[in-house]
Point group: C2
Chain length 248, copies 2
């Protein structure tokens, strides 16, 4: 008999080579560290499955994973035991639920939420250094809000897809993009059932061109229609991106 655990994880991605385990076993990954802590606790070598495999430097406020164990533990035991073995790491378990064996952290997702944080001010960052993208030139949020409208809905996002992307189709549906500003801080909140590789960072990198008045808002519509990654903006830095949560 197998018991399936749905576990919510928060992490600071700065010191990890992304979520996914790498061929180079010297590279420390979120997945590797989590699987090791599960092994230390349970004695079982498990393969965890995550809602979204974040890149190196990307943070998560609530990443969802699932894994199976032979034994039934209380949610409290799982949380406390994993956090014990995660001490010293920048990864922490914030929730655990015993779930049906049909649940899948990746495939059962109904909606995923990402936030990109920009600090828009002249002088460099101190406290937010590895927590946000610093953009010195003032961004016009109104123009960015015009541009984002072309991206919401079902489109072929080939122009915002990384060349390494393994998704069969480039057609995705963006549920919403919310751009808000408070003092120097700009949040770009993007939600969709699923994303292509680097899609959020490529969208941010392109919306920024609109905010800097390097391209017109309408240009986003043209870039989308061209279905060509070379036409969109640069991939925004990983350290400004936060995986917020997944709805199931």
């Amino acid at each position: 008999m197998k018991f399936r655990y749905k576990v919510s994880v928060e992490y600071d991605g700065t010191n990890y080579s992304g979520f996914q385990k790498q061929k180079n076993i010297k590279l420390k990954t979120i997945e590797g560290v989590l699987e090791e802590s599960i092994y230390f606790f349970s004695g079982q070598k498990v393969k965890i499955c995550a809602s979204g495999r974040t890149d190196s430097g990307v943070h998560a406020l609530c990443q969802t994973i699932h894994f199976d164990l032979d034994k039934k533990y209380s949610n409290y035991t799982i949380i406390m035991a994993l956090n014990y073995y995660l001490r010293g790491e920048d990864i922490v378990v914030i929730d655990c639920q015993l779930v049906d064996n049909n649940f899948n952290a990746r495939l059962s997702s109904k909606m995923r939420y990402y936030r990109y944080i920009i600090i828009n001010r002249k002088y460099p960052l101190t406290l937010d250094k590895k927590r946000a993208w610093h953009i010195a030139k003032e961004l016009d949020i109104n123009l960015m809000n015009e541009a984002k409208l072309f991206l919401i809905g079902k489109h072929d996002f080939s122009s915002f897809r990384d060349s390494q992307c393994q998704s069969k189709s480039a057609v995705k549906t963006i549920n919403d993009i919310l751009i808000t500003k408070k003092d120097h801080q700009i949040y770009i909140d993007v939600s969709a059932k699923s994303f292509l590789h680097h899609m959020v960072r490529n969208i941010v990198g392109t919306l920024i061109l609109v905010g800097q008045k390097k391209i017109d808002a309408i240009k986003i519509k043209e870039i989308l229609a061209m279905k060509d990654r070379t036409k969109s903006g640069a991939n925004a830095p990983a350290h400004g991106l936060y995986f917020l949560k997944t709805d199931y």
Copy 2:
């Protein structure tokens, strides 16, 4: 002729041995790094004066300093030049004004504002690790708000004063203490014309005892009356404290 510059500085205090220069010159301090950057820029060895000399690990969103130079520079030049020499550090100049020679960053202060940040949740911190004090046991904010009332106003704060404090008098006037909670985050905002050494952190460490129901709110009144540092709570950790700003 001397030109006096009032400069606003933001810093992440984590990697510095506090603001004040130490006898051990190997210890990196905010003051030392700032004076060095002023020297690299102007060729002058200046002694800077700060509004508040923060302890090791304490952060600042807007620390005010002043110093004199023989030459008149534009505010823009000072900001850009100092930030150039501060690159790689966790210190940044966010403002500069040429001021009257009577201005003194420490003595001209009318009000100083500090914020203490607590993350009140069961599981350890990741992204806020060096940015807030983690308290696992739930705090009762209502009780803390009752207790703070005894501290607002003019009192002898000997019970909340560090033994190393050099202030002549322990009588200080707290303008206000505001305790607010949003999700897991608790802010304790304290303002006063001036503070004793470790006063904010000692107040926070004692208010926490009330929030944890280890002492009654009224006990704060008694502790204050005893004028004895050994009667109050532990000094709250430095990394939760932020020097917000000074009014002149």
